[in-house]
Symmetry: C2
């Protein structure tokens, strides 16, 4: 930086989760602790449940589960599959691969047979392929898919997938961890059977809560399948409590309080406006990357996160360290998986949650400056000039 | 109250979890969010792990798991049992019964055969009985026990149990959810193989984290048993990350920050001093209850929580409502289980964590006042006179 900061360098979190948390939410979480078996907590929890339903765009239950997004997704995978049936598991990145790993663990105990659909990283699954697989395999009881694959900054067409899957007896289980609250996800209108997200992405909370929305067919499935081989992760237990505006185990009270406030903030602005803003920031990110001559990692870019390959000669660790140390901007690198090894080869920035045009401008400026410092031929000001009209309009 | 409060009634949380959280911890949790893959977080997490080891009195790993205490205990139950073996499951209250319920869910998938030891509620298990069972059943691979049974305010002799179990190939898995940080638990010295606690009891944090301490034999067991039928709850995954000062899934960053500060506060006072204070408050609670003519619910009272039966004619809901509305004091009622139905018949107060002599005096005074208001023949001032010398010395 050419101008010294007047204090410690301001930190800006542009990582795709955890994302920044608004002060009002942090302050709410710092309120004195209340017991969860009180009217005060019950009122907070009821309001949270209703706000979650509106954000999920569903009239059905949305369960709040202590743990990570992975906790909530595993619970959904094992509670909703019919034991001894097939699962179509779509992967085109690290998280899709994780859901395959989860079912691997249950191959024997739940008798899960996977039909793995491995799409190249950075590409989206073709719904027609799933339609064919479903018609060839009538004993598929669940299809798992990641809506916005954070590791590859890629979105797939969940609406089309839901149309395909809803014509069969299979349920569609969607990982919406970086899509709910960031991009259009119409749970009921599209016919998504189960939708999972986490607190630390678009929903502007620290990590520690996962959410599961259940459609009518999923609720029906829960009543048909005999629970076995899990306790904490049994969605039946969570659903039974939810119907009484309760939770089966001591809940993370402070996080639940904070989430109510964060959702109130989102709804005050409006979910549609929030989604539109995320889209604008993503458009700007993509435009800036392209203007700087970078290649996007995705052929079907998500609005939650934007990623680019490093130009030759840029060292990942040094570059991100410089962006952080010189500008206080935190961005993410790449991840390794079975489908690709992207550690050291790419970097990613987030557009989800509590991030605005100014943060994004600072982030893009920092990236440009440090790419130039690393020897990449970019005309200074390229990134910001490319996006200023988009962000300042 | 005869003197009106100068503002809203001050609230005092005397429930046995969640317990009150110190301001400094709440403020720490309200710090701007940081990413978990940073040196800043790694330093916090490393310090937390070391402080947890000191509080657990162990040189071995103590894992920090997102979720409730139940999450951490289930993970330990299923990761440490040898599939197809027997488990001695000791229950003398609602939580011991829960651990039996958990293994019920794994009867088929993990082939768990339970030897249920059901001790009357309010009594402690006899270690000699467990010694006999172990000698009769050499294929027992795990013994589960609750050190401080919160539902019955009862402590059992874990030191003696550990001596018995350590002479066999079985592992002792201890629910220390309301004992760690509140009473003497010497994990290594006593030979406890696995010790579990939660954040929201004696450790002065909101709910949302569970901790698992692993002894040498438990670590060895993890390397021998083939993981199957779980993913999130697989302790192997958590242990492998712990060895790298890392976590396998996005951790609840704000809670982890808060826990580091809460443990620092405990260690600044001293763990022994904290345990001694808890004992003093418990002694006072028991003395006050007896002075008011109440009967304790436990024949082997825990120092974490004290419970008493209601005198005839006192309505649970009205009484606790009056204690809360007139004095701002929150206490707990009773719970129903298989071994007893204590809902409406008992009440309980906590001595764990961020509670002091003054809070306890207020609580006992409120209980006395509302028992008198409910028609119980108690001389006003009985409770406080009985304990003032104990608390003000």
């Amino acid at each position: 930086m050419t101008i010294s900061p007047n204090t410690e360098l301001k930190q800006r979190l542009l990582t795709p989760g955890p994302t920044a948390v608004p002060d009002a939410v942090l302050q709410e979480m710092a309120q004195p602790i209340i017991h969860h078996r009180t009217k005060q907590f019950q009122a907070i929890y009821a309001e949270l449940s209703q706000r979650l339903q509106r954000v999920f765009r569903t009239a059905g239950p949305v369960l709040s589960i202590a743990g990570s997004g992975t906790t909530a997704y595993e619970a959904s995978q094992i509670s909703l599959i019919k034991p001894g049936s097939k699962a179509i598991t779509i992967a085109s990145g690290k998280f899709g691969e994780r859901w395959q790993d989860v079912y691997d663990q249950y191959a024997t105990t739940l008798g899960v047979e996977q039909i793995r659909v491995n799409v190249p990283w950075g590409e989206a699954v073709d719904p027609a392929q799933i339609q064919t697989l479903l018609s060839e395999n009538p004993d598929v009881s669940i299809v798992t898919v990641v809506h916005s694959e954070t590791s590859t900054a890629t979105v797939c067409d969940v609406k089309a997938l839901a149309t395909v899957v809803s014509q069969t007896d299979a349920l569609l289980l969607v990982d919406g961890i970086t899509s709910v609250g960031a991009m259009e996800v119409e749970m009921d209108a599209w016919g998504i059977d189960a939708l999972v997200t986490g607190s630390q992405k678009a929903l502007m909370l620290p990590p520690g809560l996962g959410y599961v929305g259940l459609g009518e067919r999923a609720v029906q499935r829960l009543s048909e399948v005999k629970p076995q081989g899990y306790y904490n992760l049994d969605l039946r237990r969570w659903l039974a409590s939810w119907k009484k505006n309760d939770v089966p185990f001591t809940p993370p009270v402070s996080l639940i309080r904070g989430q109510r406030v964060a959702l109130e903030m989102i709804e005050n602005v409006g979910l549609d406006a929030t989604i539109a803003r995320t889209r604008q920031l993503a458009d700007a990110g993509r435009a800036a990357f392209k203007a700087m001559g970078l290649t996007l990692i995705s052929k079907s870019p998500s609005d939650s996160v934007t990623g680019a390959y490093y130009p030759e000669g840029v060292d990942d660790s040094k570059f991100r360290g410089a962006v952080r140390d010189n500008f206080g901007v935190h961005i993410a690198g790449g991840q390794d998986g079975r489908g690709a090894k992207w550690k050291g080869k790419i970097f990613r920035i987030s557009h989800m949650g509590y991030v605005d045009a100014e943060d994004t401008m600072v982030c893009l400026g920092a990236i440009e400056a440090e790419l130039i410092a690393a020897g990449v031929a970019i005309e200074p000001g390229t990134a910001q000039s490319a996006v200023a009209p988009m962000l300042n309009e």
